[in-house]
Symmetry: C2
Subunit: 351 residues, 2 copies
DNA sequence: TGTCTATTTGAGAGCGCTCTCACTATACCA
DNA sequence: TGGTATAGTGAGAGCGCTCTCAAATAGACA
């Protein structure tokens, strides 16, 4: 099936040397147009493809970028299309930059020796992108020994300054979302967090607290419930929150907000009349629920693209580490918060 | 960053030959326990990783499988989590079999030379998996020249017999869904198709028509509308269908059904009283809408797993092509069809 | 103690490419 | 006409591994 066909055989057929064929393949300018055409014709005719391994061996680069999404496949699948959007962004940029994308999904356990080896093998990929690497992840410990450049999507927990990452200003965005609720007259604002091993969730909680304090409102622990980024936990979290009579909710993601909304509605309360809701992300579900969610829009796809671009720059030494890319967010007003949408949007640019 | 560290240097430090280090790395039994331990210690100490390219060059395999999802990223993202589920299945099996997954997402145009080259390069991946390759896709023409084994998820349009694929019996499943509606007394059953360049959509339409004919009902073209696998097109398709007074709908996917449901509700009709709905897939959205959807459940994740396993078997010559894997489906009765759920489930095994 | 077998080790070729260096052919100028 | 610059080409080494084959060593037995 994979019959042997190498530069040498193409060279023979074209009546040139291996070197010349190599030049043609690599678009070297030092080949006469005539020779180039002849060689190209033979290559096409023979359906020849240069051996990627041989090339990688001498060039010391594979033109492959590794993408690691260590999130449990449960979350990967359930948080609406947050991860698929990240993936689409990564994919688009990686393809455009003419790299290939090697992907690992799901949990990596300490004892997953094979995978760990592959991941840390500096000869398989030219660089790595980690999406939402949780603080308690075994890979965290290995990061230091990594022999290749890497970029994280979301702020890392440790070594923040020295690590390359792409994120949004979650703290400020959460402050703005919460301030919005406060401005609407809400005083008992609850918060359902995301997975607290992910900085996004951590920072949004911080922003929420900041805003309450700044407004002179108490931070009431009974109004804060930890969950993970999915609809179901959002639903149950809200059920537990309801007895404490919140008049608003800032949810760590739209999926969580959607689950919470359902719980509120089932309890016979009206949204936004009895309770305002603000989500985060602005993914599909935000507009598919009734009432549609006021939410903090973040450029999810662009996060993927930016991370891929940054990594390629790093691989090619076009920038020097560490780099921190902070993308802007925007508060999108819809019906779930109860704001009179005279100005339908409140724009915020973080950084 | 990638300092040169090869077998030779490890060998020197351990006082053995390159061959012996190679044996240790490849778990060859012909190494004394003592030597193995010594070499392993040095490898760990030096943080050594064998060069994948060099290994691939001589072994003529990369242990990488390519996954191609040529669907526009629009559909990839919008059809609920169908594609992410396929991806999760592929990922799990590929990881378990100790391969790595190279992924290409999104449309591939004819002139995307770079990508076409990479895809057909038999030295980069050991095999390829195509997910829902549309009939009009430029890759279709290249399939014959491919120098590596490949598996398709979903029945191919052409060369069905000679192609390796994993699918469900969409025709039979659609027949059962439609028969169910007929049995409930529905007579004007509409159908909203999926993307007709994908066999799934094509076969479901066939099954729908088969069932009508078998029951002696007319196949009314005004009750059939073509759409793509997403919520929005489902919504608009249903709006166009409504004037023709259907009393039931069989939708090509749950996402489509969800969009259609919204249109029905907005038109002031009741589901299932005025109109029964049956979807396909049984993804999250099926239970998130009100009323929850009666639908044909297909083992999406298992399709990915089966495809990966089959490909690995093919790569290792453990089975001979062509192989056709048909997975079972199941009609799941929920509230959208109006069936009295005495038996809450009607089980069907295709093949 | 020597012979035979089994186990463990090493030497060396070669996988298919790139890249440097040297060489040839052509063009240009004085 | 000779000298020099330049475009185009080829030879050959070497990237880091695996794998075959032969050699060395150890173990078993008479």
């Amino acid at each position: 099936m994979k019959e042997s066909l190498d530069l040498e055989s193409i060279a023979r057929k074209a009546g040139v040397s291996r070197s010349t064929v190599s030049r043609v393949i690599n678009d070297s300018p030092n080949v006469s147009e005539q020779t180039r055409q002849r060689v190209l014709a033979i290559i096409e005719q023979e359906n020849f493809h240069p051996n990627a391994a041989a090339r990688a061996l001498v060039k010391r680069r594979t033109d492959i970028l590794g993408v690691v999404i260590p999130t449990s496949s449960n979350v990967f699948l359930s948080d609406n299309n947050y991860y698929p959007l990240i993936l689409a962004g990564l994919n688009d940029a990686i393809r455009q930059l003419d790299y290939a994308m090697l992907m690992w999904l799901g949990e990596v356990t300490q004892d997953d020796q094979h995978l760990m080896r592959k991941l840390s093998n500096p000869h398989l990929t030219d660089g790595l992108i980690f999406v939402s690497l949780p603080s308690d992840h075994p890979l965290y410990a290995k990061l230091g020994r990594l022999r290749q450049p890497f970029v994280m999507i979301d702020r890392p927990f440790t070594d923040v300054e020295s690590t390359n990452y792409v994120s949004v200003d979650n703290v400020r965005a959460a402050e703005i979302a919460t301030e919005h609720l406060i401005r609407l007259g809400r005083r008992r604002i609850a918060h359902i967090t995301g997975d607290m091993t992910i900085t996004d969730a951590y920072d949004r909680l911080t922003g929420y607290k900041n805003a309450l304090r700044a407004a002179g409102l108490p931070v009431d622990d009974s109004l804060i419930i930890e969950s993970t980024f999915n609809r179901e936990t959002g639903y149950y979290a809200m059920q537990r929150l309801l007895p404490h009579k919140p008049d608003a909710l800032f949810a760590a993601s739209d999926t969580v907000a959607a689950g919470a909304l359902q719980a509120v509605l089932e309890a016979g309360l009206r949204v936004p009349d009895d309770l305002s809701i603000v989500g985060f992300d602005d993914v599909d579900v935000a507009t598919q629920v009734t009432p549609p969610l006021t939410t903090v829009r973040q450029p999810i796809r662009a996060k993927g693209e930016a991370a891929a671009r940054l990594l390629v720059d790093l691989v090619n030494h076009r920038v020097s580490a560490p780099q921190h890319v902070i993308l802007p967010t925007e508060l999108v007003i819809r019906r779930s918060c109860g704001a009179t949408a005279t100005t339908s949007r409140e724009v915020m640019s973080a950084q």
